[in-house]
Amino acid sequence: MEKYIFYILSVIIIAFAVASVSSRKMLRSVIYLLFVLCGIAGIYFLIDYNFLAAIQLTVYAGGIIVLIIFSVLLVHHIEMELEMAKPLRKVLTGLLCLLGLGVFLYTIYNNDFNVVENNVTTSTADIGAKLLSYDAGGFILPFEVISLLLLASMIGAIVIAKGRKLNDKNNEAL
């Protein structure tokens, strides 16, 4: 059963990923991305990382996609057709990607993974404890760093998005 679900998810991910990068309509492209992200969340569910799946859905599908959609709506007409790259470029890039993929797969399939059969379930509490742990192997420092980063990026995003024009207006007001 899980096997088939995985295959279905894989097909969804790959198909929508392809659709996402080849669609000429911006909004659709974003929506296809949403499906890809949801598919990935599905994979997380499958391998029993429910917390991760939840984050994937809330942060990615909920936050990032919404952000992108907003930006699309702000800068585009919905029906606007996108300019596409030259065919030669596409072909070359495609070939390059296939070659790269070949390299990857060759490497992966030639690598003997030391797979441990298991059925461990990871609870959210474990993850939380690990994240906030001061002990050896704890992630409190990166956690703080990330939080600072998020704060900084939030401020940065606001400042950048405000742009010059507001400043100009202020100057005019003064």
Binding site: L92, T93, L96, C97, L99, G100, V103, Y106, T107
Partner: protein
């Protein structure tokens, strides 16, 4: 004999030149004329004094005229090879000093009248002084290099004086032509000097000319293409002389040089500068005579004889009186060359040398007179052409008489000066080379004919319509004419053979009556023919001109030598050497350099795209690089 004061002879004109040249705008014309004449008078007096001292007081030791030298080093090359500056006093340099002094002084005086009212009056006198300085320097030179230096300076003063009317295109091109042709000849001279300097190790005339000296004794030591290198050097030096002296085929500048003011023609292109070539050969006469048994001297003789004949023929056909005189000058200089060429060295053998110098002297007098007379005529009628003249004897009696004297002198009618010198030349030629003798006699006849053609054409014949009645020139112009006429009349009685000989000993010259009679007879025939043709206006001359047909036309077009030169310079050098070089330079040499530059630009343009600033291109390259590196690693690890 103390000769240290002689250095003043050239330096005074130099001072005058600097004074007038630097202040040409500030000095009033009248004053500048006086300064010029005064300065030159001092030089002339000094020259005469030197001549007197040398010839009659202290020049002779044991019956041989000595050489006095006073020099200092100007530039060192090696221990032995250096350029000196100084004065050299010997018979021929003194003779030349006298010639230059007399003619230059006369011309200075004459110019005060002739150039009156001209814009560049002061400039003219400064140029004249420059020329006189250079000529004195040339005459007094102690070595080959010094003579070359002043040789160039006379060339440039000649250039400046020919181009004196510098707004006239014909004058400018004549000046250029004179300078370039003579400079081309000087190229030969310079190479000759270089060869001579290297193979003999000296430039000094005394060392070179010593008949017992190492140079003359060892002439055969090195040879090149069958001739001794010294002979080559002499021939090359002679090319320089031939250029200045307008010998065939380097004569083309001389007729054109008549574009200059007439006094200049008289001074430079008749009496002094053009005989510099003769002087140069005479200066090196022992070398010419002894080296390779006189091979070079023979060349001189034949070139002289040919030029003499060639110029005389052309002179008959010219209608511009100054050009007739110019070709006559060329012919007479050819005569002098011929005389040098047939001369021997010892005792009476040296009669050719003596005659040449003698003729140089007398010719300077009567040719200067002819030119100044012609100038006087031109001044009166404002034209150079015979067709605009005629019957002037009534208006210009003094000019008429003096011109006649000069014409008689050049035609070799006794007892005028030309007769004596010409006779000596013919004697020398008769004794050494019959062919040249016949040429000489023939030329003597031609000379008489064309001279009297001009004379009759100007002063006799039909009176022309003159714009305003011609009048005799002022005293400042007729005075020099009279002085020169007197000299032309009596100059032949100077005992040259006792003063100037190759071996410096002197001999008793005597008339060779049969030869003198033949020469005089031929001259008289020429005069009579001219009388018949040109005394009265008649059609005889045209008839004979027609009879000669193409030959006459060739002669009147100067045998197309000018055209050949033009062809060579314009068509060959300018068009087929210079222009292609300029084009080659632009197209290939520059093109190659440009090409390198352009290729660099192209290459940089081609690779500029790599650094496009497009993130996606970078990403592409990055991925490609990563993949390639991965492939390399895989390849390395799996094998």
């Amino acid at each position: 004999m103390n000769i240290s004061y002689t250095i003043l002879i050239p330096l005074i004109p130099l001072a005058v030149f600097l004074l007038l040249g630097l202040n040409s705008k500030r000095i009033k014309p009248a004053i500048s004329g006086y300064i010029g004449v005064l300065g030159l008078s001092v030089s002339a007096v000094l020259s005469f004094y030197t001549a007197y001292q040398y010839f009659f007081v202290s020049g002779k030791v044991d019956g041989v005229y000595q050489t006095f030298v006073n020099k200092s080093v100007w530039m060192n090359f090696t221990e032995t090879l250096h350029i000196d500056m100084g004065v050299l006093i010997d018979p021929i340099s003194i003779m030349m000093l006298i010639v230059v002094s007399i003619v230059s002084l006369m011309v200075h005086i004459y110019s005060r009248g002739y150039m009156k009212g001209d814009d560049g009056y002061t400039r003219f006198f400064s140029y004249l002084s420059l020329f006189t300085f250079s000529m004195y320097g040339l005459v007094l030179a102690t070595n080959l290099f010094q003579i070359y230096i002043f040789w160039e300076l006379v060339g440039v003063s000649s250039f400046l004086l020919i181009g004196y009317y510098y707004t006239k295109p014909s004058a400018v091109s004549a000046a250029k032509k004179a300078f370039i042709v003579t400079r081309f000849a000087d190229l030969g001279f310079l190479i000759g000097i270089l060869i001579m300097g290297y193979f003999t190790g000296t430039y000094d005339f005394e060392t070179l000319n010593n008949p017992e000296g190492a140079v003359i004794l060892n002439w055969a030591s090195t040879s090149f293409m069958g001739l001794s290198v010294i002979t080559w050097a002499l021939l090359l030096i002679f090319i320089g002389g031939a250029g200045k002296s307008a010998m065939f085929p380097l004569h083309i500048w001389l007729p054109d040089a008549m574009e200059g003011p007439t006094p200049v023609s008289a001074l430079i292109h008749a009496a002094t500068m053009v005989v510099a070539g003769v002087y140069l050969v005479a200066r090196l006469f022992p070398m010419f005579y002894f080296v390779e048994h006189g091979f070079a001297l023979n060349v001189v003789a034949y070139v002289g004889a040919f030029s003499s004949l060639f110029a005389a023929i052309i002179a008959i056909t010219q209608t511009d009186i100054k050009r007739v005189l110019a070709f006559s000058t060329m012919s007479q200089i050819g005569y002098m060359m011929l005389a040098l060429g047939v001369s021997g060295y010892d005792g009476h053998e040296g009669v050719g040398y003596m005659a040449s110098m003698f003729h140089l002297f007398t010719h300077a007098m009567f040719k200067a007179l002819l030119f100044l007379g012609a100038g006087s005529v031109i001044h009166a009628v404002h034209s150079n052409y015979l067709k605009d003249m005629g019957g002037l004897r009534k208006y210009m009696p003094i000019t008429n008489i003096t011109f006649l004297i000069a014409a008689l002198a050049i035609s070799g009618v006794p007892p005028f000066a030309g007769f004596w010198s010409k006779d000596e030349i013919l004697v020398a030629a008769f004794e050494h080379n019959k062919l040249i003798y016949y040429v000489g006699v023939f030329v003597a006849g031609l000379t008489a004919f064309y001279m009297f053609r001009v004379y009759f054409g100007i002063f006799w014949g039909k009176e022309k319509q003159y714009e305003h009645a011609p009048h005799e020139s002022p005293l400042s112009m007729t005075g020099p004419l009279i002085v020169l006429a007197i000299l032309s009349a009596v100059g032949g009685f100077i005992p040259f053979s006792e003063l100037i000989t190759p071996d410096r000993i002197g001999f008793e010259a005597h008339l060779n009556y049969p030869l003198a009679a033949i020469a005089t007879g031929v001259g008289l025939i020429g005069i009579v023919l001219a009388w018949v043709f040109y005394k009265k206006e008649n059609s005889l001359s045209d008839k004979y001109a027609l009879a000669f047909g193409p030959f006459y036309r060739w002669a009147s077009d100067k045998f197309y030598i000018d055209e050949i030169y033009l062809f060579i310079t314009k068509k060959i050098i300018f068009k087929h050497i210079s222009a292609p070089i300029a084009k080659f330079d632009k197209k290939y040499v520059d093109g190659t350099m440009e090409g390198i530059g352009n290729k660099t630009v192209l290459i940089s343009k081609a690779i500029k795209g790599i650094q496009s600033g497009k993130v996606q291109d970078y990403a592409f390259s990055f991925v490609m690089g990563a993949v390639i590196i991965a492939l390399v690693f895989i390849y390395l690890w799996t094998n």
